[in-house]
Amino acid sequence: MTEHATRLLDVAGLTIGLRAGGEERVLVDGVDLHLDLGETIGIVGESGSGKSLSVRSLLQLLPAGFTATGAAQLSGVNVLTASERDMRRVRGRQASMILQDPFTMLNPLMRVGRHLEEVLREKPQYRAMSKPERAAEVLRRLEEVGITDPSVARRYPFQLSGGMRQRVGIAATLATDPALIIADEPTTALDAVTQQEILELLISIQRQRHMSMIMITHDLRVAFAACDRVYVMYAGAMMEAGPSDELSRSPRHPYTLGLLASEPPLDRRLARLPVIKGELPSVRAREVGCRFADRCEWAVPACSEETVRLAPIGDDRASACLRVDEIGSDLAARFETVEHGAEEPALQDLSAPVIVSLDGVSKQYGHGSGAVTALADVSLTIRQGQAVALVGESGSGKTTLGRCLVGLESVTQGAAEVFGIDITQGSRLPRTDVRAWRSKVQYVFQDPYSSLNPRMTIGQTLAEAGRQAALFGDTRVLSVEEVLERVGLRPQYAARRPSALSGGERQRVAIGRALALNPELLICDEPVSALDVSVQAQVLNLLNDIRRETGIALLFITHDLAVVRQVADTVYVLEKGRVVETGSAEILDSPTSGYTKQLLEAVPRTSSDWLGKRSQMGKS
């Protein structure tokens, strides 16, 4: 695969800067990468690492103000410096791109068919066609991406589901038959089952047409399953590159190792998830040294002083670690312990008193014909100190259930008791009961970016929670410092405002605010789904620590089964507002409901059989 005749893309020293307010920020720094005809490469990295910018620069699609330097030869054209005229011949014909969000990728005012037709018309062989012929071609191409209903061509994008839209997007992207498809997180916004379908579709088309593909994702498992080779990016710089299976088996860069390690395993529960310390750095001016040095266990002073670039380390692999030779064995050993990390059984005490009991609970939004049933006949129990996970795909009613338990929504039917308080009474509850309820049940929201009042400092937010606790008659009110300490933040954070905090830190504060009331039940609604893997692991560990220390009960809402495995004693699986399966966390090993099986099936796995067609690929 090293013959130059088959080389499609060769990027060397790609650097992307943004001039803003008089200072130049380097967002992508000296990226090297190459791609052969018919090959699929993956670029992985946490959010903000510069993946999207890098590939957009290849089509000169950077937003205004960005400049890209370096060299990028695509079929013999330097696409970084080519004129707009030349680029018009590159875009669509040489390379085309699929974007992350299917909901914004299509022109909302244009019918689906038109999206394809307008690109088809650009190509000589289609321009000659008559109208009906072209319409037939549009339908044929929609069929290719699995849309067999011809009426779809006449619909508007907003009338389609996310998966359908992404299929249309793919069809439109492929309509010009480009040699290279760039897929920028094509499945991140989709649920697991649809993600699997779309990835399978992309891979199969790519193989059939012998196209090349760059797949961007932040999910290592997806990259390993779908790509021949994988590049790992961190904070604007390339850290490591290599063939999928090798990289997944033997990372040669501390960051790759950390990333692999923080991925919670689906098949066993770890006592503690391995974490990368610290948080993603914010992008600043160009700096020398390894960008990962701050967070690296193996860093030595030289790491911060010498310029590092991706360097080959033998057959088709490359690493940007200065000490790659010295620490190689260390990394291998560490990886071994991660792979076979200590397993911890789920603990549960089925004799503990019941604190939440729902019996035949239903919840409807709205009235009459527009009513939506979010929960139907749900029964659920939570015992003191128990960790209960609520799983299900998007729209299955998980959030609704959680909100009912804290009184943000009211139950429409059924019996619901929380700490012996009948919460179906809603606003008719006596004041004392409301206070008891509030002080015992607290909630952590999914989006850490808007769950803190932006106008209040962290200290004010936490102090206010303490004030509430005192109001409710709590005698052991925690001070702001104590709360910060409990969630692993330094006391100095009290003076900051939310905007000066990273997502992970905000989520810690939100958890702290809830804990300030010394609740007995904490409801966490997807508390980690907006966070990067390295931070996700930290927050999950924090929650487990708190549980161990305080014996608090947890209702953990998530759609990620691997996370369920890490936190839950008992699992409830929701489908369209109904509980379809319930039991201890072991049901993940032997699900009985078809729905649960389907959910498990769709969880990305590095192993080769996850994306069905992959097994047939021949490796030379």
Partner: protein, 321 residues
């Protein structure tokens, strides 16, 4: 949105507007009844206003009924499209309005054309060249003119173009097509300073917003032609907010005309209203305000219908609204 639901929607809106107009007319009627000053006194001219004469006049012009009866009579007549007669001239209010509407409508249309014709292209230019010189220039100008009151601008225009340069007539409406046009240029320019700025800002924002959307990037990546991108993607998608601007502009022009007509001594609806207000010619005041209010309602309705035509998404939401 089906034709039927569109129709139902339009009828619903019209019914709502009708209720509002009734409430509105009642408000103005009461205001006029409560206000000091009496139109009868004007009807008398130089006659001594003895109680007998006043009564005789009131009887002659049906001004002697109790307030609610008067209002009720007015309302029932208005429902038959009879807005009554001017107290002072006996002229049908509707014909007085028709007489004056011409100038106002022409002024409005000219202003609208200038506004849209300049505002949209300038807004697009600024939006597409965001942050560059053209953008900064246009945005600064817009910032300046959006807040300039039309009558003050009008006075300055008169001084410069009619007084100093003597290019255009300063006042009056002129007669015939070309002459009328010459007379309406300055008023229309005065009226459109603020509205152009409004349209520029709306358009610029819309274009910037749309140009940053994923579907534009995706389309460029697919190699969609630049001309198609500009018209089918950027322009069409920017149109929705621009329609809002168009609606705002039209209603603004209807109302702003009142002041501009005073500035340029144009015999339009606005000056009719102002003089009627001063003379307490109640039927005229009622008639003109209602016509203007109804026009504003209609403009809003048409704007909303234009959204339906432009944006299929709203069509569906609108139906279930």
């Amino acid at each position: 949105m089906t034709l039927r639901s569109t129709l139902r929607y339009v009828l619903g809106r019209l019914a709502g507007a009708a209720v509002l107009l009734v409430v509105y007319s009642f408000g103005i009627y009461s205001l006029l009844a409560l206000a000091p000053g009496d139109p009868v006194r004007l009807l008398l001219g130089n006659l001594p206003a003895t109680p007998e004469t006043m009564d005789a006049i009131r009887a002659r012009y049906n001004l002697d009924d109790p307030f609610f009866v008067q209002y009720w009579n007015w309302l029932t007549d208005a429902l038959h499209l009879d807005l009554g007669q001017s107290v002072l001239t006996g002229q049908d209010v509707s014909s007085a309005i028709m007489e004056r509407a011409g100038v106002t409508v022409q002024l409005g249309l000219l202003t609208f054309l200038i506004t849209m014709g300049l505002g949209i292209p300038l807004g697009m230019l600024a939006g597409l060249r965001r942050g560059r010189f053209a953008d900064r220039l246009v945005s600064q100008l817009a910032m300046f003119s959006v807040s300039a009151p039309s009558f003050a601008v009008g006075i300055l225009l008169i001084i410069v173009f009619a007084g100093q340069l003597n290019w255009l007539p300063s006042i009056g409406a002129g007669e015939g097509g070309a002459d009328r046009f010459r007379h309406l240029v300055l008023p229309a320019v005065a009226l459109s300073t603020a509205t152009i700025a409004l349209v520029v800002r709306y358009t610029r924002t819309a274009v910037i917003e749309v140009a940053g959307q994923d579907y534009i990037i995706a389309a460029r990546a697919r190699g969609v032609k630049p001309s198609r991108l500009l018209f089918n993607y950027v322009l069409r998608n920017s149109l929705v907010p621009v329609i809002t601007a168009a609606g705002v502009v039209l209603s603004f022009v209807m109302v702003g005309a009142v002041v501009v007509e005073a500035t340029f001594a144009l015999p339009g609806l606005g000056s009719l209203l102002v003089s009627a207000v001063q003379q307490k010619d109640l039927p005229i005041v009622q008639g003109v305000t209602l016509v203007i209010a109804a026009t504003v309602f209609l403009i809003n309705l048409v704007t909303d219908l234009a959204y339906l035509a432009v944006d299929p998404r709203i069509a569906v939401d609108g139906a279930s609204r």
